[in-house]
Amino acid sequence: MNTNMLYGGFLILILVAGIGGFFAGQYFAPVETVPTLEGTIPIGVIYAEPVEGELYAQGEKYALDEVNAWLEDAGIPVQFERWVEQAETSATKCVERAEALIERGVQIIVGMEWSSHVKATKSVFDNQKVVCLSSGSQSADMAIADDYIFRLPAPVPLYSPSHLAVAQDMGIEAAIMIYTDEPFGASGAEGITEAYEDAGIVVPYSLGVAPDTTDFTPEVGAIEVAYLDAVDTYGVGKVILDIIAPDTILSDMFAVITTYPELHTAPTFVFDAYATALLDKAAETAATMNVTGFWLKPPDDDRTQAYYDYIVATYGDEPYAFSYTAYDSIWIAALSVLAAGEYDGEKIKAVLPEVTSHYYGLSGWTKLNDAGDRAFAIFGISQVIETSPGDYEWEDIGIYDASTDTLTWTPP
Amino acid sequence: MEILETIDIVKKFGEFRALNGVTLGVEKGKVTVLIGPNGSGKTTLINCLTGVYRPDEGTVRYKGDDITGKAPHKLRKIGIARTFQIPAPFKKLTVFENLMVSAGNQLGEDILKALARRIWLPQEEELTEKSLALLKSFDVEGKRNNLAYELSGGQLKLLELLRLLMEDVELCVLDEPVGSIHPVLANKIFSTVKAMSEKEGITFLIVEHRLDIAMRYADNVCALVEGKILCHGSPKSVLENEELQRTYLSLKNVRK
């Protein structure tokens, strides 16, 4: 047989499959906008990054089972299904995948953990009137009113009062701010600095570090000078370091701080609690310096406990900090679709804020602000503590409730 | 009159002096054949003359101008063209395209003019005729649509030569143009060379191993041994040089 014909056939097959499949998809898409809800309804999921995506998936699958079991019990003829896509860290792929999911009839997409991906895909959501419910994006500059973007994690500015409350409780008088010089770190540091200064805590020195730095020797040297200067004025125990940086940078920085004993008297705040790389690289120093972290804390109740136990039993590890919002994203998506009465992004968008303001999930009360981002948060406060000789772990030491501005220390 | 002169050319590869002070004049309008044993530096000398290598020492003069180390494409523009010992065609271009691309001053090679067909089409048609005529004169027009890599060794050698003729040329430097070519075609090529030098006054500098053929057409012969000119003159005088006979001709005979 003529090989050219064979390949020609292959080529035509690809083209026909591509173009034909594309149009066929329009017609055989299982979900058309139907006036009444029934059958299986997809919830689109796009993960920014494969490994992290699996951790979000744990919470989503658990929630989806709950939702579907409940619908069945209640005799509601609807089931939900996750249609999962991977953006493989690329915003371009994220856009492509969102477009394809929407072509297949998806009207709400969760996951969407990275702010850069949300930003690149925003125009798709807004123009095609499809809801995006992010369980990971926190960047302050995506806070835009009346768009199709909703975000469940605590946005960066929400963290400021928690830092301030703990600092005030400790009687801190000066804070040295250290942050990664990119939008996330910079806006976080800016918000916290403002909160400190408004409350009379001085910020004598701020240092932005390049996000791709790995050797922090010069930076830590500068921090030490600034710290000792401040200690001269305010005294030991009155000056903190406040570091807004991701886990990897934090741990690299602490690896250097370990060799600067003068700094070890400084109590230190970090942005995320449960930073594991920090424990791997500089646990002892972190414990000496009472490194304190903040995190969006799930309520202390049976439901959380059941989830926790299930995840530990199934996957052998504690739930990922953001898997709580991932869990909530599935419930909120399902409830919003049901409330809308129709699988239609525009209608879902209209009811979603009301649903979230009446939903109390594994991440707490999910009420959203005008920009569609989380309005209130209860932060867990944790410290690196030596649990047994040579063994260091993050331990919860208190709770800060941003909605009531109350700080409660957990009795040891 | 000498169209090309080299003065004390030295070319080193590491510590090895492939050319060790070559002084040579190429007479205008004549066929000069460069002989010498393998590895004596003939190709290296040609590479120095045509801008492929820059000599480490010495000067190359063309019509009195210093052209030492000038880039090959600039030398082509002033009339110096060359072929390669191992044919280097544009493999995935057809024979016809190989010729077409070798023509100079093409309007269609200017990126802006290339967009407007009517600017370059007349010239393209002219060149098409010219290359077809060339192919025809060597009875190879049947091969015009073959890709160059489909040609035999002899045909490639011919293609190398025809390529030179697509643009005005004053000095042709040919590196073993008839090596491994059938004697009938070899003679035809050499008689064409001879005719061109006689009719059009084109100068040829030709590296050639096959003395029987070369001597018949050469006006001058120059022998290069171990990077140095051993002797230079009429074919007869060079063949009679004793030292050359010892080093080169005897070797040749032994090989045969």
Partner: protein
Amino acid sequence: MVNIADILIPISTFVTFFAVYLLVSLALNLQQGYTGIPNLGLFLSIIVGAVVTAVLPSRLAMVIYSVPPELNFIEDNAQVVALLNVHLASDPFTSIGLLLLTIVVAAGAGMVTGYLTSFFVRRLDETYLAVFLLALAEAARTIGTYYRPLAGGNFGISMPNFVGWFGADYYYLGLFILISSVSVLIFFLTERLCHSPFGRLLRSIREDELTAKTVGKDTNRVKMIVMALSSGILAVAGVLNTTRQAAAVIPTYDRIDFTFWPWLMVIVGGSGNNLGTLVGTISLISLRRVLIYMKPSLSFLPFSPIWFEHILLGIILLLVMFRRPEGLIPEKPRKLQGP
């Protein structure tokens, strides 16, 4: 009732995505397929285009519509974009003007970038060159990712909507017309160029640069022109993609999506001819899309269907490499007709 705009959306998203990639693979084909310049850093010039789009038209629009100077495009991005969108939606002339200006300036900036990189193209061997261009592009991406004033750093910035005047319902029609017409125009110009003596010259340099030199071609100059031209095209692709996404997110221009994929498209389609490039681009993009469609019904697979796409692409690439190394549409000899 079927709304015409609703049908347009999927067509527009598909075609515009394809149109952007077509430019990238065309540029690669000019460099690698025609001239033999192996470039692993295509995204360098794409980033240049994206940065020009991030910097230029919105700043100009801010001046034109006298947005209060205390508002900063990067720091108050959402606010500025909202303001500008209101103006632009009712001002087609300014919108088009700004967009055309951006395309021209970006193409110019891309050409300068290509011109500058061409100095390395002359001096470095193939392998070194490919890696060097990759490193250069990575450096640009790193700067774009961390230096906020350019394009908002790693989170990117939102762009005002330059096709808003089509009306909300016809936004996608606007994108479709704009992006596909630019892309089609460039395709035909490139095709025209490649079928002229200039194209022949490029292929001769690819085949044997030294021979090309000895027949009188200034190959360095030609390579410079090719680098400038193709980088200009890449920069336009950057503008179009930024316009398409209504956001400039520099880290998205990475070596996988904007170098590896285009290489795959050119290899699968057949390099050294623009039709092959077009077929390779559309095949891979459609295939990806079909796979996304099919994934929900692939749950029977023993592995997560998320990775099916990669496995299938791997298989296709292997098949093409082994059975048809010239690509689906191989470069054809340009035969001279007649007796």
